[in-house]
């Protein structure tokens, strides 16, 4: 039997955006087993709900993660609104949808850059982040912050996008779409990129479902699960189909995310055309009493929020199950059998957001 070596991967690694540790059991350049180890960035945010009252907790929920920040605050607000049965105005729903999709475009562009960096293609990484700057400008112009939006509150939203600002957003998005097409062409057609991605880390259709994957990782293996189809916020009135691929390898996951950028830009156009006028928020009185499960679609997959209130101004329980937490078992399974040089690429294809995973 060949000798087995254990090589530690992470928590410090040039390719990882956030610290995760994997013990790779290697036999002559082939990874036989991978044992994950998380907990480097555990902040115990779920317990903080006992100290901060529920309207203030939006600011903590927003800061669970930098990239998925807006959808965290949206899910939290949605949960409280469902427990307290607040009639959120439709304009607020549409604005939340628009901001959520802008944050999805931002997240996928950021991830495309990191993917190129994982393969060593630094110039493509810089170009992807150059395109991302344009999206960050849209976000700053409409919400005031570049990464943490600070625009969602229990009962609605805090800021408005008026007609002139909306026209500006759509114009910038058209430019972003044009520039994204240029870099997506390289991601999907370049010979060296395809050599690194095709056939690597294939996740079979049945395995992906049984391991509990979510998001683009699941959709790249042929399933059409997209939590946006539940119809929360304004998604009931927008028409779109989940993007899927069947191969389940790294190339398929990259292609799904590239297509999702264009799908999000289309969704923003649809929402901007249909957005009604009206109030931005409804006044909140009283305390939440009851429990709810909220499921929304973050850029990385389905996030589940469990909120339980007991009539006081502090929630009794706040539980978040983020998509990367659900994708880690799939990562561990897909690492078995790959070669050591493919490990960084594979780890990046599930889009690891470890600060979300460990809150």
């Amino acid at each position: 039997m060949a000798t087995r070596t254990v090589i530690p991967f992470g928590p410090q690694h040039p390719v990882l955006p956030e610290p995760i540790h994997l013990d790779l059991v290697v036999e002559d350049e082939k990874v036989v087993e991978a044992i994950p180890s998380i907990g480097f960035i555990h902040r115990g945010l779920e317990k903080l709900v006992e100290k901060k009252d529920f309207p203030e907790f939006v600011y903590v929920a927003e800061r669970i993660c930098g990239i998925c920040s807006f959808i965290h605050s949206q899910s939290y607000c949605q949960g409280i609104e469902e427990i307290m049965k607040l009639p959120v105005p439709p304009r607020a729903h549409y604005l939340r949808t628009i901001w959520g999709e802008i944050s999805r475009v931002h997240s996928h562009l950021l991830w495309l850059g990191l993917m190129a960096d994982a393969m060593g293609f630094e110039s493509l990484f810089m170009h992807a982040w150059r395109v991302r700057e344009r999206v960050l400008k849209i976000i700053e112009a409409t919400t005031g912050g570049r990464v943490i939006f600070g625009v969602c509150k229990v009962g609605g939203v805090r800021r408005d996008i008026d007609a002139a600002a909306m026209r500006n957003v759509l114009a910038e998005l058209a430019e972003t779409e044009r520039e994204t097409k240029e870099i997506v062409k390289v991601f999907l057609n370049d010979g060296t990129v395809k050599h690194r991605l095709c056939g690597v880390g294939a996740l079979a259709r049945e395995d992906a479902y049984a391991l509990g994957c979510v998001g683009p990782t699941l959709r790249a293996s042929g399933w059409t699960n997209d939590t946006r189809k539940l119809g929360y916020a304004a998604f009931r009135e927008l028409s779109f189909e989940p993007v899927t691929r069947t191969e389940g390898d790294c190339y398929a996951r990259v292609a799904v995310r590239c297509d999702e950028i264009f799908q999000s830009i289309d969704l923003i156009r649809q929402a901007a055309a249909k957005i009604p006028g009206g109030e931005l928020a409804v006044k909140v009185t009283g305390n939440p009493d009851g429990e709810v499960f909220v499921r929304t679609e973050q850029p990385r997959g389905e996030v589940l929020y469990y909120l339980k209130g007991n009539g006081t101004k502090n929630l009794q329980r706040f539980r978040v199950r983020t998509p990367t937490f659900a994708n880690i078992p799939a990562l561990v399974k897909s690492l078995q059998g790959c070669s050591l040089a493919d490990v960084p690429v594979l780890v990046l294809t599930i889009d690891p957001c470890i600060s979300c995973t460990e809150r």
Binding site: K52, V60, S123, I148, E182, V186, K194
Partner: protein, 110 residues
Amino acid sequence: MSLFSMTGLVMKWLLRKPYTSRYPFEPRQPLAGSRGTLGVTMAACAFCALCAKRCPTQAIEVDRAAKRWTIDRLRCIACNCCVEICPKKCLEMKTAHGIPTVTKDRETFS
């Protein structure tokens, strides 16, 4: 399978001015709605301490007796809650972002 799909992009940007700006020689112009640092007009302040109560990070401290208003700049997350709640409208959110500091002290106004 093409090996030169990046060439177009490379040539285009070789002939253009670089996208990165030469900060700090060319400081960045913030956008109109940006949330940067908090500014206060002490002449209008009534020391009601509503801003301190509303602040989610407890960055503001108001001493009614000594007529002092302090802010911990590094704790402030620029969420704009205090600006919205102030009844005298003496707080404003400036668009320029804060200057980097090396000490953690509180800024006092009176």
